[in-house]
C-alpha cells in the first residue's frame, strides 16, 4: 500500500493553507473513487460509481473534505449546510461527529450556512436536519476515521484493526502512537465518502444518546456575541424599509426630500414602491422611516379578501384537484350510517420574538455579502443575485443565528432588503432590522384551510369508509432561486413577478401533508383542492398543512369513537395496525394515566396522534382541560407527549422540540388567527395578535421511545398537529361540544355550549 501525498496549494482560508492528498489503495473502498488526475481541482467529484445513493446529504455532497478538515492545534473543523434555528442541530451533529471520530467535542469548530464554504444541503426545514445532515455527518465522520486509521496503520506498520483511538490519538499495541493531527494537519480529504464505514455501536457512544449542554446556550445566557443582531462590522450604517400599507397598495407620491434633511439620514432609496432609508444611527433610521411613511401617499385596493369571510373565499376559488389516495371500500364492508363534518382554521403567523435582520455590504469587487438568518442561503442567494441582476457567484451569503425560525418567515426578505439598500450605498455594511409591525404584517403566514370529512360506519360504529377533502392556498413560496419570491423584488420599479405556487407532492406533501390518515380504513379517499391565488401572503410554517389535517382527522375520529360509545384510545387502536404508532399512543396514555382517570365536572381529557408526514417522528399527545361553561374559557391543566424519533442523539433536544412545539400549537389552537382586510393586516403587534403566556402554559411531560440503530426521524414539527386535536377532544370530553373551527376562543366555545 502506498500513499501518494500531493502537496499542492489548493485553497487559502483565513490565514490557513489547505492541501489535498489522495490515498489510492488506502482501504479498498477508496481504490476506485480516490484517484484524481494530477492538477484536477479537489472540489470536482470523482466519477460516480454505480452504487446505492450515499446516506443523507452526502448524496449531493460526497467529498469527505467538504465536510471535515483536520486543522492545526488539535482542532477538527466540521462544515455543514444545515443551520441553527434554535432546534439544536449544530450540537446534535457535533455529538455525532465527535463519537464517530472518537474525539472530545471541545476539539470541534463548526461552520454552517456559508455559501462559499459549506456543502449545499438545501433548506433547513421539514424536520430534515437530522435525517439529512445528521446522517451525513455520522457517515462522513466514520469514513474519515477509517481513512485516518489506515494512514496510521501504514505509518506505524501495524494492522488497522489492532489500533485504538482515544481523542484523536492512535495507539498500537506496542506503545507506538500517532494522531490525526500528525497524520494530516492542513491537508484536505480529497476522496468521496463511501457511506459504508462501520458506525459506532450504541455501547461505544460517548455523546450520542446523552443530553449535552447545547453549544449556543451559554453565550446566549451571558450576552455573548452570537446573534445576527449582535454583528457590528466597522462602518456599519442602519437601514429601514417602508412597506406599503396593504399588499396591493399603489404608491401615488413620496416627498423624499423632506426626509433627506432629517438628522443622520444618509440616503433615501426609492425604486418603484420599494422605499428605504439609510442613516448613521439606528434610532435615526427608525425616525426617518416613520417620516418617510408620513411623506408617502398610497392608494388602497377597493376590494380585497378579508379574514372575516375566509371560509367562503376558500370554497369560492378555482382549485386544482388531485386525488392523493383512492382506496375503494371493499364490497363486503357494509355501511350502517354516514357522518360528515367540516373543520376550519385561520391564517396563523410565525411571529418570532426577534424581528428579521440582515446586513448587506457591496464590496469593491462587486461582491454582495449578506449576513442572514435565512434557512436557505444558497437558494436565497441565487434569488438575490437575480434581483440585483448579477451572477450568483457575486452574492455571498453567510448564515448567522437569528431568533427562532418556525419556517419561511421574513429572514429572506430582510436579506433582500439589505442587499437593495447596500447596493444603493456601496462600501458600507447596511444593517436592516424589521420592526415588530413589519414582521407581523409582512411575514408569510400558514395558510387558512377548510376540510370536509365524511365517514361510513358499520353497525358496531367501526369505520368502513373515510373521505377527506381539503381546501388550501400554498404552503411553500420560498425564494427557491427566484427573485419573484422575494417580497421587495416584487415592489421594484421593474417588479419580479411572483411565480404561480405549486403544491408539494408525495411523499412529504405540502397543503395535504398528513392528509392521508395512518389508520387502516377499508375505504379511504383523500382529495386536495389546491388554490393558486392568495388571500394573504403565505408560505411554509411549522408543519405546513399537517397542523390542520391532523386537527381534522383526529377530531373526526374522536367524534366517531363517541358515536360508537368507544374509548377514544381503544377506538384508535382498533383502526391502527402500525406498531410504532400504537406504541406512542399507548405510551402517552400510560404516562397520562388514561385508564385510571376519573371524570370531574367541567374537566375533560383528549388524545390525538400522528406520524409527521407519515414518514418522520411518531407523536401522541394526551391532555387534560377545565372548561368554564359560563365563559367558554379553556384552561389546559397538563399535557403529556410520547414521541418516537428513531435513534435519539440528544434526548433533551428531542424533548425540547416536542414540548416547545406542543406549547406553540396550544397557542395557535387557543388564541391565534391573523385579521386583515382591504386596509391591510390588522394583527400588527402582540396586543392585536396575542400568544400564550406563562400563566396559561400547562405543565408538559415528554416521554421518549428511543430506537438506537434505526434511522433518525425528524422531530421539529411533530407535535403541532396532534396537540390541536387533543385539545379539541378534551374540550368535547369536558363540556360535550365539538368545536370544529379554530382557534378555540372563549366566545366560540361559549357559543357552542349555548347552541
Amino acid at each position: 500500500m502506498t500513499i501518494k501525498t500531493n502537496r499542492r496549494e489548493l485553497l487559502k482560508g483565513a490565514g490557513s493553507l489547505v492541501l489535498a492528498f489522495e490515498i489510492p489503495g488506502a482501504g479498498e473502498a477508496f481504490a476506485q473513487t480516490a484517484p484524481a488526475a494530477p492538477g484536477a481541482a479537489p472540489a470536482a467529484p470523482a466519477a460516480a460509481p454505480a452504487a446505492p445513493p450515499l446516506p443523507g446529504s452526502l448524496r449531493n455532497n460526497p467529498k469527505v473534505g467538504s465536510w471535515l478538515k483536520i486543522e492545526a492545534e488539535g482542532r477538527v473543523h466540521l462544515l455543514v449546510g444545515k443551520v441553527e434555528l434554535g432546534q439544536g442541530i449544530l450540537t446534535a451533529v457535533s455529538q455525532l461527529c465527535a463519537d464517530e471520530l472518537e474525539i472530545d467535542m471541545k476539539r470541534l469548530r463548526i461552520t454552517s450556512g456559508d455559501t462559499r464554504l459549506v456543502p449545499n444541503e438545501g433548506t433547513t426545514a421539514g424536520s430534515f436536519s437530522m435525517p439529512d445532515c445528521g446522517t451525513a455527518v455520522r457517515a462522513v465522520s466514520a469514513d474519515a476515521r477509517k481513512i485516518l486509521l489506515d494512514l496510521a496503520a501504514q505509518k506505524l506498520g501495524v494492522e488497522a484493526d489492532k489500533l485504538t483511538i482515544n481523542d484523536g490519538t492512535i495507539r498500537a499495541p506496542d506503545g507506538k502512537q500517532t494522531s490525526y493531527w500528525e497524520l494530516v494537519t492542513g491537508q484536505e480529504f480529497a476522496v468521496d465518502a463511501t457511506g459504508k464505514a462501520p458506525l459506532k455501536p450504541a455501547s461505544a457512544r460517548k455523546y450520542v444518546g446523552k443530553s449535552v449542554i447545547r453549544l449556543d446556550i451559554p453565550p446566549k445566557a451571558t450576552g455573548g456575541q452570537i446573534w445576527i443582531q449582535d454583528l457590528r462590522p466597522a462602518g456599519m450604517v442602519h437601514g429601514r424599509v417602508v412597506r406599503p400599507p396593504q399588499y396591493d397598495a399603489k404608491l401615488l407620491s413620496v416627498d423624499a426630500a423632506s426626509v433627506e434633511k432629517l438628522p443622520g439620514v444618509l440616503k433615501v432609496v426609492r425604486d418603484g414602491r420599494f422605499l428605504g432609508v439609510i442613516a448613521e444611527r439606528e434610532e435615526q433610521a427608525i425616525n426617518a422611516a416613520a417620516a418617510l411613511r408620513r411623506a408617502s401617499k398610497w392608494e388602497l385596493p377597493k376590494e380585497a379578501p378579508s379574514s372575516d369571510t375566509i371560509n367562503d373565499w376558500l370554497l369560492a376559488q378555482k382549485t386544482k384537484d388531485v386525488v392523493i389516495k383512492d382506496q375503494a371500500k371493499p364490497a363486503t364492508a357494509t355501511s350502517a350510517g354516514t357522518i360528515e363534518a367540516t373543520f376550519k382554521r385561520p391564517f396563523v403567523m410565525h411571529a418570532s420574538i426577534g424581528p428579521s435582520t440582515a446586513i448587506g455590504t457591496l464590496g469593491d469587487d462587486g461582491t454582495m455579502t449578506v449576513q442572514t438568518h435565512s434557512q436557505s442561503v444558497f437558494e436565497t442567494g441565487a434569488a438575490i443575485a437575480q434581483m440585483l441582476g448579477v451572477d450568483k457567484a457575486k452574492v455571498h451569503m453567510q448564515h448567522v443565528q437569528g431568533s427562532a425560525c418556525y419556517g419561511h418567515n421574513g429572514a429572506d426578505d430582510a436579506a433582500a432588503d439589505a442587499a437593495l439598500l447596500a447596493r444603493a450605498y456601496p462600501g458600507k455594511p447596511v444593517r436592516i432590522q424589521w420592526s415588530r409591525n413589519d414582521e407581523h404584517k409582512w411575514e408569510p403566514y400558514n395558510s387558512a384551510m377548510l376540510i370536509k370529512t365524511k365517514a361510513e360506519v358499520d353497525a358496531k360504529g367501526d369505520i368502513v369508509n373515510w373521505q377527506f377533502d381539503l381546501w388550501s392556498t400554498a404552503h411553500g413560496t420560498r425564494p427557491g432561486n427566484n427573485a419573484g419570491n422575494l417580497l421587495p423584488a416584487r415592489h421594484l420599479e421593474k417588479p419580479f413577478a411572483m411565480p404561480v405556487p405549486v403544491n408539494g407532492g408525495p411523499p412529504n406533501y405540502s397543503a395535504d401533508r398528513n392528509a392521508i390518515a395512518l389508520y387502516d380504513f377499508p375505504g379511504h379517499k383523500v382529495t386536495t383542492h389546491f388554490i393558486e391565488t392568495f388571500a394573504a401572503r403565505v408560505s411554509s410554517t411549522r408543519g405546513l398543512g399537517a397542523y390542520s389535517n391532523v386537527f381534522a382527522i383526529e377530531s373526526f375520529i374522536d367524534e366517531l369513537a363517541a358515536r360508537a360509545k368507544a374509548d377514544p384510545l381503544e377506538f384508535r387502536l382498533r383502526h391502527l395496525k402500525d406498531e410504532r404508532g400504537r406504541a406512542v399512543l399507548q405510551k402517552a396514555a400510560e404516562a397520562f394515566g388514561w385508564s385510571k382517570w376519573e371524570k370531574k365536572a367541567g374537566r375533560g381529557r383528549g388524545i390525538a396522534f400522528a406520524r409527521y408526514k407519515n414518514l418522520a417522528a411518531f407523536t401522541a399527545i394526551a391532555l387534560e382541560v377545565e372548561v368554564n361553561p359560563s365563559t367558554g374559557k379553556i384552561r389546559v391543566l397538563r399535557a403529556v407527549a410520547a414521541n418516537d424519533s428513531g435513534d435519539v442523539v440528544s434526548p433533551d433536544g428531542v424533548k425540547n422540540q416536542i414540548e416547545g412545539g406542543l406549547i406553540q400549537s396550544l397557542s395557535w389552537t387557543l388564541k391565534e388567527g391573523v385579521r386583515y382586510d382591504a386596509s391591510g393586516v390588522r394583527s400588527e403587534d402582540w396586543t392585536s395578535y396575542p400568544i400564550l403566556t406563562f400563566t396559561e402554559v400547562p405543565p408538559v411531560e415528554v416521554v421518549l421511545i428511543d430506537r438506537p440503530g434505526t434511522p433518525f426521524l425528524g422531530t421539529g414539527e411533530a407535535s403541532q398537529g396532534p396537540t390541536s386535536a387533543a385539545l379539541a377532544n378534551a374540550v368535547f370530553d369536558a363540556v360535550g361540544v365539538r368545536v370544529r373551527e379554530l382557534p378555540l376562543t372563549p366566545a366560540r366555545v361559549k357559543a357552542a355550549i349555548s347552541a
Binding site: 446556550i217 450576552g223 457590528r232 444611527r281 420574538i353 427562532a404 425540547n656 406549547i663 403587534d685 400564550l692
Partner: protein
C-alpha cells in the same frame, strides 16, 4: 455627551437625549444582552435593571436614566463566571432559540431580589409579560426555581 452608569462603570456616550436606551446600550456601548423585540414594551426582550426595577429599555429614553444604576445581562456574570440565574438557565437548557432569554433572566433577577423563594405560580405571574414563542416557558420556570434554591 451623556454619562451613563452601566454595570458599575460610567460610560460617556454621544447620543440624543430622546434616543431609546436600548439602541445606546446595543450600538454605542456594544452590549449584546438587551434585545430588540417589539419597541412597544410588549415582549420584554429588551429588559434591563435600573435602580432595582426591571425596565423595558426600548421605550426608555437615554436622557431619563442619567445618573441611575443600569444593569444589563453582562452585568450579572460572564460565560466563565455566570450568575446563578445564568447558570441555572444553562443547566436547565431553558431556551429553544433563546432570544427572549435576556428578558427572562433580568426579570427573574428582580423577582429573586424581592422574593428569594418564589413559588411556581409567583414565577409565572412575574414573567407573564415576557413573551416566549418557542414554548420554553416551563424550562424557564424550572431554571428560576433552581436558581432560587442556590445560596
Amino acid at each position: 455627551m451623556t454619562a451613563l452608569k452601566v454595570n458599575g462603570r460610567t460610560h460617556e456616550v454621544t447620543a440624543p437625549d430622546d434616543a431609546p436606551l436600548l439602541y445606546v446600550l446595543r450600538n454605542d456601548l456594544k452590549f449584546n444582552g438587551p434585545k430588540y423585540g417589539c419597541g412597544l414594551s410588549q415582549c420584554g426582550a429588551c429588559t434591563v435593571i435600573i435602580d432595582g426595577q426591571a425596565v423595558r429599555s426600548c421605550v426608555t429614553s437615554v436622557g431619563s436614566v442619567v445618573g441611575q444604576e443600569i444593569t444589563t445581562l453582562e452585568g450579572l456574570g460572564d460565560i466563565n463566571a455566570p450568575h446563578k440565574l445564568q447558570k441555572a438557565f444553562i443547566d436547565e437548557q431553558a431556551a429553544q432559540c433563546g432570544y427572549c432569554m435576556n428578558g427572562m433572566i433580568m426579570r427573574s433577577k428582580v423577582l429573586l431580589d424581592n422574593n428569594p423563594k418564589p413559588t411556581d405560580g409567583e414565577i409565572r405571574q412575574a414573567l407573564d409579560g415576557n413573551l416566549c414563542r418557542c414554548g420554553a416557558h416551563n424550562r424557564v420556570v424550572r431554571a428560576v426555581l433552581r436558581a432560587s434554591q442556590e445560596a
